[in-house]
């Protein structure tokens, strides 16, 4: 019997679970594929988090700091889980360090899977010219620019006219048919930040539906009422680089009018999709993937329950979700792991 919990993935959900378990008095084995903790928000240098523009460090900093320094958390960076045997209360897992190839064995009482997501690679969909034309960027890349406080095109000049294209790699049968749930809110947040940073810029949001659910709605209202951001209902058929500017072709479905307007910069609201880490972890741990490649919980309304006793799920490896939900799921999964610990060892 062991008092350790394995957490796979060092992003928001995994970190939150690790911190809660360590606080609870359990030992945590935190395995992160990359060389850095913090997941997507840190890797892509998110400037702030929707809906309240909280700086990313404020949310992620304490979690990372705790895990890096706590004696209760054993962090394995640049490592992946390679094998898992046993059953609830007593799993034996193999962790391989990708850099030196060494493998270590550990006994854990339960496993929390929090392998997160990848941003959709827009170069897959040729109509947006991403990766081929300059000044076509993803919302993930714009975050870093906003963080630096320097939003400029490839020629070093700030854009005068920017289009955000929603639902890139989302809600499309040829790429990903699901809704990524957060990109509306994130794009709007960025549009506001862009206005704040550049001042003299016209921002156009080309959307099909605005899905700023819950309290995120305030972002949408503010962007329109306080910042004068323009909304055009429609979907873009093609972005064409003229050698100078970007010609965006679409339909304004509210007036049934074709528009072909030149922009200095196009920001693609790239969606959320399961990454290779999720697939790998699911394979090792014997978990089922759903038709889209996310991990399928036993019951779709109960995210934490993976369907295998002693293995729990948290965050965007299950479905697209916001960062506040992800953090809560981390805590929820920690609770499940704690229940296992209570049954098997006295803490």
């Amino acid at each position: 019997m062991t008092g350790t919990v394995l957490v796979v993935g060092g992003g928001p959900a995994g970190l939150r679970a690790a911190v809660d378990l360590a606080d609870f008095g359990a030992r945590v084995l935190l395995v992160e594929k990359r060389d850095q903790l913090g997941g997507a928000p840190v890797r892509w240098k998110y400037r702030s988090l929707a809906p309240d523009f909280t700086p990313t460090e404020e949310v992620m900093g304490p979690l990372i700091g705790f895990c890096e320094s706590s004696p209760m958390v054993e962090v394995h960076k640049g490592s992946v889980v390679e094998g898992c045997e046993g059953s609830v209360g007593d799993f034996t897992v193999k962790v391989r360090n990708e850099a030196d190839g060494t493998t270590t064995e550990h006994r854990v009482s339960s496993v929390i899977v929090a392998t997160g997501f990848e941003h959709f690679d827009a170069s897959v969909d040729p109509r947006y010219a991403y990766g081929r034309a300059p000044n076509v960027i993803g919302i993930n890349e714009l975050e870093a620019m906003l963080k630096e406080g320097r939003v400029v095109g490839h020629d070093g000049r700030p854009p005068k006219r920017v289009a955000f294209i929603f639902c890139v790699g989302s809600r499309d049968r040829s790429t990903n048919p699901w809704c990524c749930t957060v990109c509306c809110g994130v794009s709007i947040k960025q549009a506001i930040e862009m206005k704040q940073t550049l001042g003299d810029v016209q921002v156009y949001m080309i959307y099909m539906d605005i899905r700023t659910v819950g309290l995120w709605e305030k972002l949408y209202w503010d962007s329109m009422e306080k910042y004068g951001i323009n909304y055009i209902r429609g979907r873009v058929g093609e972005v064409y680089y003229t050698g100078e500017k970007l010609l965006v072709k679409g339909e304004d479905t509210l007036v049934r009018g074709p528009f072909e307007v030149l922009f200095d910069m196009v920001v693609l609201a790239v969606g959320i999709e399961p990454g290779p880490g999720t697939k790998q972890a699911a394979g090792v741990l014997g978990l089922k993937l759903n038709e889209y490649g996310f991990i399928a919980p036993r019951q779709p309304n109960v995210h934490v329950d993976s369907g295998r006793d002693g293995i729990f799920l948290a965050g965007t490896c299950i479905a697209p979700m916001s960062i506040e939900e992800t953090l809560s799921e981390g805590s929820a999964a920690a609770m499940q792991a704690a229940k296992v610990l209570k049954k098997t060892v006295a803490v």
Binding site: M224, V255, G257
Partner: protein
């Protein structure tokens, strides 16, 4: 006048989908000739494209500065105003939601087409009661009618 009306009706009459082409974009030359070949009338007809190549917010900014037009920027095109508008039911060419949108984006050709209908507004205020964003469409219609009349509808280009 009657002759003019007739001419307007005959213009582009060989186009099967004629009802869906704006009159003003059909160029039908009364006389067109090249190298001795007569290409007048339908043989020389051109239809100008209707692609929107520019967004122009100048008129919209003007409306914002007019009394009762100040809240127009809040409009999110839900259509509640048009849904409750008794005038719109009688004559669908008057559509407050639509008017606000085309003015916001500066779709000049559309504005030219429907701007005169703005004066149909009866001022009943149902729309302003129904608007979830407090845009005051009734007031905006007044502001729009002032903007159109003062010739600002043509501005910006």
């Amino acid at each position: 006048m009657a002759a003019e009306e007739r001419k307007k009706e005959e213009k582009g009459r060989f186009i099967a989908e004629r009802r869906y082409v704006d009159d003003q974009r059909i160029v039908e030359p009364e006389k067109l000739e090249a190298g001795g070949v007569d290409m007048s009338g339908r043989w020389g007809t051109l239809v100008l494209p209707r692609t929107i190549e520019e967004f122009d917010h100048s008129l919209f900014e003007g409306v914002k500065r007019l009394p009762r037009g100040g809240k127009v920027g809040k409009c999110w095109q839900c259509g509640n105003c048009t849904a409750v508008c008794p005038v719109a039911h009688a004559n669908p060419m008057f559509n407050p939601r639509y008017l606000i949108h085309i003015v916001r984006m500066g779709y000049q050709a559309e504005i030219e087409k429907v701007k005169d209908y703005v004066y149909l507004c009866s001022g009943c205020g149902l729309c302003s009661a129904a608007c979830p964003k407090d845009v005051d469409p009734q007031g905006v219609m007044i502001a729009l009618s002032i903007a159109f009349k003062s010739g600002r509808a043509k501005g910006g280009r």
